[in-house]
Amino acid sequence: MSRKQKIMLGRIVAAVVITIILLIVKPENRWLALGLYLIPYLIAGYDILRKAVKGIINRQPTDECFLMAVATIGAFALGEYLEGAAVMIFYQIGELFQSYAVGKSRRSIAGLMDIRPDTARIRHEDGTLEEVDPDEVEVGSVIVIQPGEKIPIDGTVIEGEARLDTAALTGESVPRTVRAGDTVQSGCISMDGLLTVRTTHEFGESTASRILDLVENASSRKSRSEAFITRFARVYTPAVCLCAVALALLPPVVSLLAGADPRWTDWLYRALTFLVISCPCALVVSIPLSFFAGLGVASRHGVLIKGSNYLEALAATDTVVFDKTGTMTRGVFEVAGVHHSPVDDAALLRLAALAESHSTHPIAQSIRLACPDEPDEREIAEVKELSGLGVRAVLADGRTVLAGSDKLMKQEGVEYIPCSHSGTVVHVAVDGQYHGHILISDQLKPGAAEAVQSLRALGVSKTVMLTGDREQSALEIADTLRVDELRSGLLPDDKVTEVERLLGEAKGKLAFVGDGINDAPVLSRADVGIAMGGLGSDAAIEAADVVLMDDDPRKLSTAIRISRLCMRIVKENIVFSIGVKLLCLILGALGIANMWLAIFADVGVMVLAVLNAVRILLYKVPQKGEAHD
């Protein structure tokens, strides 16, 4: 609790104690009672009265302090001393709770996003270490990160090895191992090793700073719900005030004209009850709090959402369009299998790796990666690259190895078995004898199929995959993923056209998921543009509305689940708050609800709405087998 809040608490406690004493003593004399009840009233509400006066001076007549002041002074004027004092006390309790609860959730949400490093340790050329403000570190400086410390600035590891806790950035709990040559992002925590890093960015351009900047600016893009609340609040308070005036004047005047008893005090009391209900606090506090909590929890799970409007759109997503390469697949080539080989797989890979050991082609690199041991170059006598076809290598033991495409085999007159799978095929022949082939393909990401499944479980009605690849290789992947629709052989422009067509067909919102590198036009065309792998990719963070910080497509359903929970809570709060207020207004107009009920409705609804909003912070990713949402 802050000092301000503590003082307020003290004032409330004092006012409550005095009121209780007065309730027991029951002062008989009217004027004495008025004087005595004014003591707790003024202790609790003197600042409200002061603000009310200022409100009048500054011509802000619908200020809620002014309304509270009118309502409570009115109650005193009507002789309802206890009510006047009590309403003021409860109003202040509500305000105190609000400022405490909001302050607390603000801190806990900010804690979720606490990735900003405080200091950086520079190593000077003479080897001395100096702790400085990360802002002062220049690009190309050498910094040292000890175990347990946050990496302050993006850079490349030049020395040391460590496991990194990237949870604050990606929500991923499995640590990532880095060693010399790897790039590291600020905000990660070195768990067990000493790292020496050469910085590649300034602090302000580093991952942690950019992410924080993004999250902090997220709320400037307001959702429809928030815009609605703002408009509602603007209309609601003046409207209720007008009703109050009408309620105080019209019925008595009509009664008077009709010759009945005008009952001025009765109607005035009902009008004052209206004023107590006129503050839209429950809404204007809980709705932004809900969205803020939603954005905070999402970023804790490695999903950056750039504004609450995108949170809203995500919740309403019913069509998800994927890019293939780099999104559902890893975008790197790997050996997927060895087929029809008379020797064992490792031996064939070794032969191929030997033959390809001088090649820099990605295919050759992936074969070398798959080979269990490093090929020894002394085993090769002669290598000849046959451009576009493959290689011919003569080994030290005299054998001739051919490794390459169908064409190479045909050209050399080797009978080969064509591959039925999609991907790139490298046939291997030794001394003219066919030794089988190695299939190299882009690997599906682990969990890609699961990601599509869980989207379907969440009620996403259509999943579409777009790819520039040829039909055959895309089909197999589409089958494995079980997407509803596949469009292959697309140029970047075609992707935009496709997305536009799908936008026309979609009933709900359309989300496009890409790697953010070459699909910026599509990302901006979709209702929600989602980029994968924000870690280390500036382009992805720039282009997208939502960034999945790690490469895991399963985070998509996490994002949708969080946004739905958030939107549900927002709707609950809107309906509940407005409902209770309207009910109280009606009851108040009929004279059934008194001022007590009104203040309880006002403060109580706010407390419940704030607690409901905080519920978002409890979100947990459902484990496998648990019911979805």
Partner: protein
């Protein structure tokens, strides 16, 4: 020209009023108040001097909500 300021205000409705007041100040193209982070982001109109504009913004905010503060 865009700048971010730390603010202090007690309730969300008051933050909303500050936002309105800031937006109504000449020299401010767009202002948005983030109550949760207690921050005010101001985009200034071209040629406006942030320092003098922010003084007016603060004065206008004080008018609608005497308890608020903008740390300039």
């Amino acid at each position: 020209m865009k700048k971010s300021y730390k603010i202090d205000v007690d309730c969300a409705n008051c933050a909303r009023k500050m936002e309105d007041a800031a937006n109504a100040t000449p020299g401010v193209q767009e202002a948005s108040v983030n109550f949760m982070l207690l921050k005010m982001n101001v985009t200034f109109t071209e040629g406006a001097d942030p320092k003098t504009v922010m003084k007016d913004v603060l004065a206008n905010c004080k008018k609608v909500e005497s308890d608020c503060e903008i740390y300039l």
